[in-house]
Symmetry: C2
Subunit: 585 residues, 2 copies
C-alpha cells in the first residue's frame, strides 16, 4: 500500500478556480497581508509532506499500541511525542490562530484542507491539535485580555494543548443536568469541583500543560458558565506553577481512535477562570463547538479520501475475474476495476468526497468572511455559517462512514484484516457521527433552528444565490442544471411544509430532521458538481477536466436523486414515527 498522498491538485483547483480564494483574500484586509495563492500552495505542499511522512506512519502503530493510563500519566504511543513536537515547531497548531498572539493568521478556507490531510493521515494525532486550535478560538473570542495573553501564545505554539470538557454521565446531548460546580474565590477566580466524561485529549504526554474549558454551574444558578482550568497553574511571570487538582480518573476503551486519550476528568477544588459572562457558558462554548463541528466534518472527509485512495489502488491492482464484455487485454484475469459493481462503489466514494471537499472549502470561506469581512457581506456569511455548520458536521461524517465501509467492501476479505489498514478507518471514523453533538442533534439544529427558525428565510436566500450562480455556469450540462434547480425547488417546498406545520405537529422537526439534512446535502453537492464541472472545463490538465466531468455525470445520474428520496421521507411527516406507545418498543 502506497503512503497517503494529499489530493493537492483537487485542493488547488477548489481554492483557485472554484471558489476564487485570491479575490476573496484580496478583499479582506486581515487576509491580504498574510496569504496569497503561492503561499497557500506552498503550505498545502508542506502539509502534505508532514501528513504523509510524519503523521501517517503513526496511524497503524498507534492503533495497535493505544494510549496507556499508568499511575497519574497518560502515555501516548511511540512516536507521538516526537512528531507532535515537530508538528508544533512547524507552526501547524496555530495555522489559523491570531497573529497578535503568535498564530499564523491563515484563512480557514486553507485550514480546512490542512485539517483534512491530518485526518486522512492519522485521526488520533490530529484530534490533539484540532482541539487545541478550537480551545484557542474560544479563548480568543470570549476570554479577557489577561487570559488571552497568558494562554494563547503557548496554545498556538503547541507547547500547551486544549480540551473541551462538557459531558457528564447524566448530561450528554442535554447539558442542563451538569453538576460540576464553580465557587467564587476572593481573588476573582473560581474553585471547580466535579467530574466529566468523554474528554478527548483530557491529558497526554505530548505537552507540558493542558488547558481545559470546563462547563460548570455557579452557586444557586441553573445557568451554565464556562471556565478555563489549566492542568498546571500558570504563574504571573508565565512560568508553570503547581498541579491544579485536575486529574484523570480513567481512560475509555473504545471501538477506535485508540491513540487518542478519551478521559474521565476529575476536578477537586481546581482553580478556574471565568470565560465570558456568568451563565453564558453555552454561548461561549458554541464558538468552540462550531469550530469543532466543522473539524469533525473534516475528519469524515479525510477518512473518506483515505478510503478512496486505498480502495482505488487495490482495485487497479487486484486480479479477479474478467470484464463482462471479455478482457480488453486478453488476460485470463483482469484487475477488479473492470467490474461495474466495483466501479460503482469507487465512483460513489469519489463523487461524495470531492463534493464534500467543495463543501468544506465553501464553509471555510464563509467562516473567513464572517470573521474578517464587514457589513452585509459579513452578516450574510454569518448566516451561511450557521446554516452550513450542522450540514458539514453530519453529512461529511455520515458519508465518511459510508466511504470507509464501501472502501472496505472493495477489499473483500482482505478488508476485514487489521493489517490491510482500512478497517481502522471504519472504526476511527465511526465516532465522528456521534461526538461534538450526534448527527441527529445536528439535523435537529439544522431543521429546527437554521431552516425553520427564521421561517426558511436563510434557506430561501441561499437557494436564490445557488440558482443565480448556476445561470453563470455556461460550461455545465444544461440538463444537469435543470435537475439541480428542480431539486432545490422541491427542497424549498418541503422546508415550507415543515415550517407551516411545526407548531401543530411538535414532533415533526425532530422526526424528519435527519432526512431533511440529507436532502440538503445531496442537493448542495449537486450544485458543487455543476460548479466543479464548469470550472474544470478550462483546466490546463485535460485528464483532470475529463475526470471531473465523468464523476459529475455519475453524480447526476446516480446520486442526486437521493435528495428527492429523502424529501419524500420528510413529506410523509411524523405520524407513523410517533404513533406507537413507548412501552411497545
Amino acid at each position: 500500500m502506497n503512503p497517503y498522498q494529499a489530493p493537492l491538485k483537487d485542493m488547488q483547483f477548489l481554492l483557485e478556480q472554484v471558489f476564487d480564494a485570491q479575490a476573496t483574500w484580496e478583499q479582506l484586509p486581515a487576509m491580504a497581508d498574510v496569504v496569497d495563492m503561492d503561499t497557500a500552495f506552498a503550505i498545502l505542499e508542506e502539509a502534505n509532506k508532514i501528513s504523509r511522512d510524519l503523521l501517517h506512519p503513526l496511524n497503524r502503530s498507534g492503533d495497535e499500541q493505544g494510549v496507556v493510563h499508568k499511575g497519574n500519566d497518560i502515555i501516548t504511543p511511540d512516536g507521538f511525542k516526537e512528531v507532535y513536537q515537530q508538528f508544533s515547531d512547524g507552526g501547524w497548531v496555530g495555522l489559523c490562530g491570531e497573529p497578535e498572539f503568535g498564530g499564523m493568521g491563515m484563512p480557514k478556507m486553507l485550514g480546512v484542507l490542512v485539517d483534512e490531510m491530518g485526518y486522512s493521515a492519522c485521526n488520533s494525532f490530529t484530534l490533539y491539535s484540532s482541539l487545541t486550535a478550537g480551545a484557542a478560538l474560544c479563548i480568543n473570542a470570549h476570554a479577557n485580555d489577561e487570559l488571552k495573553q497568558t494562554y494563547l501564545p503557548n496554545l498556538y505554539t503547541g507547547q500547551w494543548a486544549g480540551a473541551m470538557d462538557m459531558t457528564e454521565p447524566h448530561a450528554g446531548s442535554d447539558l442542563r443536568g451538569i453538576r460540576t460546580k464553580a465557587e467564587p474565590l476572593d481573588d476573582g477566580s473560581y474553585s471547580i469541583t466535579g467530574n466529566k466524561i468523554f474528554i478527548t485529549g483530557g491529558d497526554q504526554d505530548l505537552t507540558e500543560n493542558v488547558i481545559h474549558l470546563v462547563l460548570a454551574k455557579l452557586p444557586g444558578s441553573k445557568g451554565i458558565s464556562l471556565f478555563l482550568v489549566p492542568k498546571i497553574t500558570v504563574n504571573a511571570d508565565g512560568s508553570l506553577g503547581e498541579h491544579n487538582g485536575v486529574t484523570v480518573g480513567s481512560i475509555e476503551h473504545k471501538m477506535g481512535l485508540k491513540a487518542s486519550a478519551t478521559c474521565v476528568m476529575n476536578y477537586d477544588n481546581a482553580k478556574g477562570f471565568l470565560v465570558g459572562e456568568p451563565d453564558r457558558g453555552l454561548v461561549c462554548m458554541f464558538t468552540m463547538m462550531n469550530y469543532e463541528r466543522l473539524a469533525i466534518g473534516l475528519q469524515g472527509l479525510g477518512n473518506a479520501q483515505a478510503a478512496y485512495q486505498m480502495a482505488s489502488e487495490y482495485a487497479k491492482d487486484r486480479l479477479q475475474g474478467i470484464a463482462a464484455a471479455g478482457s480488453a487485454t486478453g488476460a485470463t484475469s483482469d484487475p477488479i476495476i473492470v467490474h461495474g459493481d466495483v466501479r460503482r462503489m469507487l465512483l460513489t466514494i469519489r463523487a461524495m468526497t470531492e463534493a464534500g471537499r467543495a463543501l468544506s472549502v465553501y464553509t471555510g470561506k464563509q467562516l473567513d468572511l464572517a470573521k474578517y469581512a464587514s457589513g452585509d457581506v459579513q452578516a450574510k456569511a454569518a448566516r451561511y455559517v450557521g446554516l452550513l455548520t450542522p450540514v458539514s458536521k453530519a453529512f461529511l461524517t455520515d458519508r465518511g462512514l459510508d466511504a470507509t465501509i464501501t472502501g472496505q467492501q472493495v477489499f473483500g476479505g482482505h478488508g476485514y484484516i487489521r493489517e490491510t489498514g482500512i478497517e481502522q478507518f471504519v472504526r476511527d471514523t465511526r465516532i465522528a457521527q456521534i461526538y461534538e453533538g450526534t448527527n441527529g442533534i445536528q439535523a435537529i439544529d439544522f431543521l429546527g433552528r437554521k431552516i425553520t427558525g427564521d421561517n426558511v428565510a436563510t434557506l430561501t436566500e441561499f437557494v436564490a444565490e445557488v440558482n443565480a450562480s448556476m445561470t453563470e455556469l455556461t460550461q455545465a450540462n444544461a440538463e444537469h442544471k435543470a435537475m439541480v434547480s428542480q431539486v432545490f425547488a422541491e427542497l424549498l417546498t418541503t422546508a415550507n411544509y415543515v415550517n407551516d406545520n411545526k407548531k401543530t405537529q411538535p414532533a415533526l422537526v425532530n422526526s424528519c430532521a435527519v432526512d431533511f439534512l440529507d436532502a440538503f446535502g445531496y442537493a448542495v453537492y449537486g450544485y458543487f458538481w455543476l460548479l466543479m464541472a464548469d470550472k474544470a472545463s478550462s483546466h490546463e490538465d485535460q485528464s483532470f477536466a475529463a475526470q471531473k466531468q465523468f464523476v459529475a455525470n455519475f453524480y447526476m445520474d446516480k446520486l442526486l436523486s437521493k435528495s428527492q428520496y429523502h424529501l419524500s421521507q420528510v413529506n410523509q411527516g411524523d405520524k407513523s414515527i410517533m404513533a406507537m406507545p413507548a412501552d411497545m418498543f
Copy 2:
C-alpha cells in the same frame, strides 16, 4: 444491560400463523414424524435458554480475549470449550442433520430461528457449529456412503467440526486460479498439497478433529474438485489415527469475530478423499455455500435483533431532553424514546429485522420443500431457494450492519465504548457482508443468474404468487396492498429492462445488481409486512397485534419506497459507471 432474550413470540407467530408450519410439516413424510408445533416451540424455548445463559456470557469476554495461536495449537477463549461440549451434547450441531447418521432431522424453517438466536448471543461461537452443520450437509449430499458413515455421525454430535477451505491468496471471488493440488494415490485416496487463507474454524481446541472440505485441482486439469481432508486421519474402526499433514500457518487479526479462528491452512501431502465427481467440486461446494449463505444472512439478522434489544432498552431508560410537545409526565427529563429521531432509528431497525425474520423462515420453508417435497412443489421450491439465497445472504447482512450502526447511534457516545457492547456487534457483523461471497457477488448471482438467467421466469412466477396471496389478506390495509403491488409491478418492468439489454450492454448486470437486489428486498419485505399485519390482526395478544400494525404502517410510510429508489438507479443503466477509463480512478 439485560441479557439477550430471543423474540420467542415473534418466532412462534411466524411459524404458526404466518407460514403455517404445521400444515407444511404434515404434508412432508420426513417431517411429519419428527416435528409438530409443540416440539418446535419446546426447541425454541430451549434454544433461547442455551443462547441466553451459555452463549451470550461468552460474547464479550471472547472478544476481549480472542483466539491465540501458540505452537501448533489454536486456543479459544475461556469457556468456549466447556460450552461447546454442552452445546454439542444437547444435539444442537445436528439439529437439522440426517436422522440416519444421528442428526435430529428438524426442518430448516425451525433451524433458521435457532441459528438466529446463536448469532444474537455470540457470533464467534455460532460460526464453529454452523460451519460444521454446513460441512455435514455437503458430505451428505455428495460424498459416498463410506465417507458419510465415517464422518457424519461425529459431525452431528459435535465431536468433530467442519471447515470450508476455498480461498487462496490469489483466488477469492474468482476460484479459477486456485493452486492447491491433489495427486491420486494407489488406494483411491489423494495427496493434497497447497495452502488456503481465511479458513473460519480451520482449527480450534473445541473438538478432537476438524474435517476440511478442500477445493483442489487434479493433475493436468483446470477443473476444480472437492476433497474431504481430516486434520487427523480416521482408522477403519473409526478411531483416530495420525496427524494428516494439515497445519495452521497463522491466524488472522481481524476487525471483529476475535474469538473465531480465521486460519491460514497448509496441506503437506495430506490424505484426502474425493467428494462427488472429479472437476465438479464447485457444484458440490455450492451445496455447502448455499447453506452457509443463508446462515450468514442469519448472522446479520441475529445481530440486528441484538442491536434492537440493546438500543430500545437504552432508549427507554436514558433520560435526556424533554419531548417536543412537552413532557407527558411533567418530568424535567424524559427517556430519549420520546424523541422522533430516536423512534425513527428504532422503528427502522425493528421493521427491517422482523421482516428479515419472515424472509428467513420463508426461505427455510422453501429449503424444506426443496429437500422433502416432490413433484411440482419440490421443483418450484428449488427455484425459490435459488432466487432467495443470494437475497437472504446479502440483504440480511447489509441490513444487519445498518441495524448495528443505527443501534450504536442511539447510545450516543456510550455506543463507542467497548464496555457497552454494541460496538462489538458492528465489528462482528461487518464480515457477514463479505464472506461466503461478497454481497456484490450475491447481487450479480441474483440478477445475472436467478433473474435474467431464465429470462425473468422465476421472478414472474414469484410475483404472481405474491399478488395472488395478497388478494387473500382481507385484514391488511387496502392502500398498503396497492402500494406493494405497484412496487412489484415496477420491479418486474425493471427486471425485463435488464433482461432485454443484457446482451447489448454486457456490464449492465454487474453495474446494477446491488441496486436490483436491494429493490427486491424492500419489495418482498413489503409483502411480508402485509402478511404479518394481516395474520396478527387475530392474534390473541392485542398488544402484539397492535405493534405489528404500528410497525407495518411505519414500513409502508417510510421504507417501502426505497425499493423504487433502487429501481430508479437500475433504470439509469451502466453508462456513467463504465465511462471513465480505469487509469483515471
